[in-house]
Amino acid sequence: MKKRVLRNKLLTGVIFLLLVSMVLSGCGGQSGSQPAEPASGQSSAPAEAPSNYPARAMEFVAPAGAGGGWDLTIRTVGRILQETGIVEVPMPVTNREGGGGGVNLAYMQEKAGSDDYIAVYSPPLLLINLNGSTQLSYENTTPLARLITDYQAFMVGQNSQYSNIHEVMEALKADPKSVKVAGTSAAGSMDHIAFLIIAKEAGVENLSEIDYIAFQDGSSASQLMGGHVDLLSTSLSQVSGLIESGDLVVLAQTAPHRVGTGVMGEIPTCIEEGINATFENWRGLFGPPEMPGYAVDYWSEVLAEMVTTDEWQAALVSNGWDDAYLDAAGFKSFLEIANESYKMILDEIGMLAE
């Protein structure tokens, strides 16, 4: 008898564990239980705007792991919409990683026509298409709004022989192998392209000869500090602590104007240094393809309202982001222009996919 009681208790315990683990894994990602609709299939029924939209929880998606830039952006949006009461339904964040965002892009096609799915993306959305990682592009999404931009910065270690961006460019002109450029993203993605866009404008030829070294585990800053590489291309907000402490020295940033205060505000822009180019690490929100009109309108309004709140302005300051709000239409034409400019560079270094 006693044994049976023990056994029952154990069974309950085991079932409890199973439930806990299901809940936990559920928190990481909502299961895609909705029947998959083929992207090219019949477009969804005429968009009848439900008067109470959104009635159900939204699915917010960061197409990469927790803790990264995408994750930080969309979680901040969700938090502020909730705190200010602009949106009242829950907006849990799912991290759907893989393929530099491509896995989520493919998943978004299955969600075509739905009104409860919003993902965050940045330049890699265009780059993974151009370099052939995926056939899908920004045209297979519904751009909702561009929200912020971060800028790329080029920095060296404390004891570097380079004290301004010109010296780096001159060295590269003399010998493209002389400066080892490091970044976090894979070759042909953001950190690499951002540097090449600037180098091209500075008159460096043989862009494909420049050595770019990817440290995908995020250790690139320590590699620079240890003197193992010569220059780091990364977004400014990622390393602000090391810049303030003086461990890293920023030679130039890619913004059209200076951003931030204190040490950060003293970083010259490339334009000031006579290199007439900018690079924006923009981040914006995207719905699935064929997102119903009422949902697009709703989120356009909501996001336009959000960017005017004090909470959002405070988040911009604390994260070192620049306000870059563009509405859906403006965002779309921006994407077209950005796509062309990335395309040109990838073509030049031979990484453009056919």
């Binding site: 069974l11 085991v14 683990s21 936990l24 585990d217």
Partner: protein, 504 residues
């Protein structure tokens, strides 16, 4: 001593009732999460993210660290009881922990794992108080060439994981290295072995391979035993504690493994899995009877357990002192800190000493609380062994699938899971050890990338691998580690010969 004074202030922060509560809740949650296959500290911390917005930065960081240490304690519970590591860092605990449980010594194994974890964690926290900055600065001397050599050194542990048959160990290793090449190559942006499958672009997650090889492998393996009616269940349970003899054997290995774990953990991108395997390898080579390793030697459990907890403390160093996340878990924690408006990095100790030192103090408290939670908890958990296999194994199977989904959120990973489960089963049948394969999947990608990064930096000259003193030390260690077993067995053979000569 300035550090001590700061630490005392830190205790003032960490010992407030609210923070004590958070570290306890975090620790308990972490222990449970750590036990479940696939759900490691990174997932645990990520799940907590929304909750931490409402807390202050100190409370948030302390809670997340509670989860982190908890998962380190919990990860090895399932290694010992059902041969299924909760995450990578707990693999080494299966080597001797599971055989101990099979020998009817599950209680001692669970107790030793908690004790070793506790000592490793506490000593690492003490080291951290004094040398966080110098260790972080020393870590900077590891460039790609040094990382490559470190990975090679880690792989030399294959020899000790091969249970006598080196050739089979190397086959396993090579298959693992091949698996590690799947995905987009970061240095060239080229896709390798992805067969047009988007989900493979990010590579094959080593956690899925671990779950497949161990959880599924264990289920497939025992299925046969159950069918033949040979599976024995443990129904009587003793007290969760170790014998004096166990302690006498283990205290030195624990003390030796802690610094290894701490230092390897503090290198960005090395991690607790490597630390625990290195500690295991090290003890096996120092042992007087290495043949007992893998058969339930308590030293083989104590060493990696101390090392992986020490590593989890060490892993916080690059994040806190440089603002560079050294592991998946610390990357998530750093994201949370950024969202709370804190910039981890060299200025953290000056700008927010209460956060930095509060966190360090919470390591001491967290480790004590976790040891207190874990001993009685083990008394409950050990009764898992009394669950009839027909109930236990379907549950393990379900957990394996749930855990896999939690890692990747894709259906493709289920196929990967099943394929590797079958591979693991047949390897087991053929007497090929699976641990080298898993080790290779874990370090293979980083090893290859480091190799190519180094050669890009040196414009193709291999001289870069012999340039620094760190590199030379690593080369020497690798050679020593490979030669030692050979020399040792030769010496033993000679001694035996002498003895037999004397006898005759």
């Amino acid at each position: 001593m300035e550090a001590l004074q700061h630490l005392i202030e830190g205790f003032g922060v960490a010992l407030t009732p609210a923070n004590l509560m958070w570290v306890t809740i975090g620790g308990l949650l972490g222990t449970i999460i750590g036990m479940l296959p696939g759900l490691g500290p990174a997932t645990g911390v990520a799940v907590l993210l929304p909750l931490t917005y409402t807390m202050g930065p100190t409370a948030a960081l302390i809670t997340m660290c509670g989860v982190y240490y908890g998962a380190m304690f919990g990860g090895s519970r399932s290694s010992i009881l059902i041969n299924t590591p909760g995450d990578g860092a707990a693999i080494a605990a299966t080597f001797d922990g599971y055989p101990m449980a099979q020998n009817g010594r599950a209680e001692a194994a669970l107790a030793m794992s908690a004790i070793a974890s506790f000592i490793g964690g506490i000593i690492a926290a003490i080291i951290m108080v004094f040398v966080a900055q110098p260790v972080a600065r020393f870590g900077l001397r590891f460039g790609p060439a040094e990382y490559f050599l470190l990975m090679v050194f880690a792989l030399s542990a294959t020899a000790s994981m091969s249970k006598g048959n080196l050739m089979k160990g190397f086959i396993s290793l090579l298959v693992g290295l091949m698996v590690a090449t799947v995905g987009i190559d970061a240095q060239s942006g080229v896709q390798r072995f992805t067969f047009g499958i988007m989900e493979l672009q990010g590579g094959i997650d080593f956690l899925v391979v671990i779950i497949a090889m161990y959880a599924l492998g264990e289920v497939f393996g025992t299925f046969q035993v159950i069918k033949e009616g040979k599976k024995k269940m443990q129904t009587k349970f003793g007290k969760i504690w170790i014998t004096k003899d166990d302690w006498k054997k283990s205290w030195k290995p624990i003390l030796r493994s802690t610094p290894i774990g701490f230092f390897v953990g503090a290198l960005p991108g090395a991690g607790a899995t490597m630390a625990s395997l290195m500690a295991y390898n090290n003890e096996k080579q120092l042992s007087k009877n290495p043949d007992n390793f893998g058969k339930g030697d308590i030293v083989g459990l104590a060493a990696p357990e101390a090392a992986n907890n020490a590593a989890s403390v060490g892993a916080l160093i690059p994040m806190m002192t440089l603002g560079i996340p050294g592991s998946g878990t610390t990357a998530v924690m750093m994201g949370a800190l950024l969202m709370l408006g804190l910039q981890p990095g060299p200025m953290l100790f000056q700008q927010h000493p209460e956060v930095a030192w509060g966190l360090i103090a919470s390591m001491f408290i967290g480790n004590i609380i976790l040891a207190v939670i874990n001993i009685p908890l083990a008394g409950v958990l050990v009764r898992l062994l009394a669950i009839p296999p027909r109930i236990l194994y379907p549950v393990v199977m379900a957990l394996a699938f749930v855990g896999t989904y939690a890692i990747a959120h894709t259906v493709i990973s289920f196929y990967i899971l099943v394929i590797f489960g079958l591979v693991g089963y047949f390897m087991h049948k053929a007497g090929i050890p699976t641990a080298p394969l898993i080790l290779a999947v874990i370090v293979g990608n980083k090893m290859e990338q480091s190799f190519r990064q180094a050669l890009t930096i040196s414009n193709g000259s291999p001289a870069i691998f012999f340039k620094s003193s760190v590199a030379m030390v690593l080369i020497a260690l690798t050679i020593l580690s490979l030669l030692y077993p050979v020399v040792q067995s030769k010496l033993r053979a000679r001694q035996m010969q002498k003895e037999s000569e004397v006898a005759s």
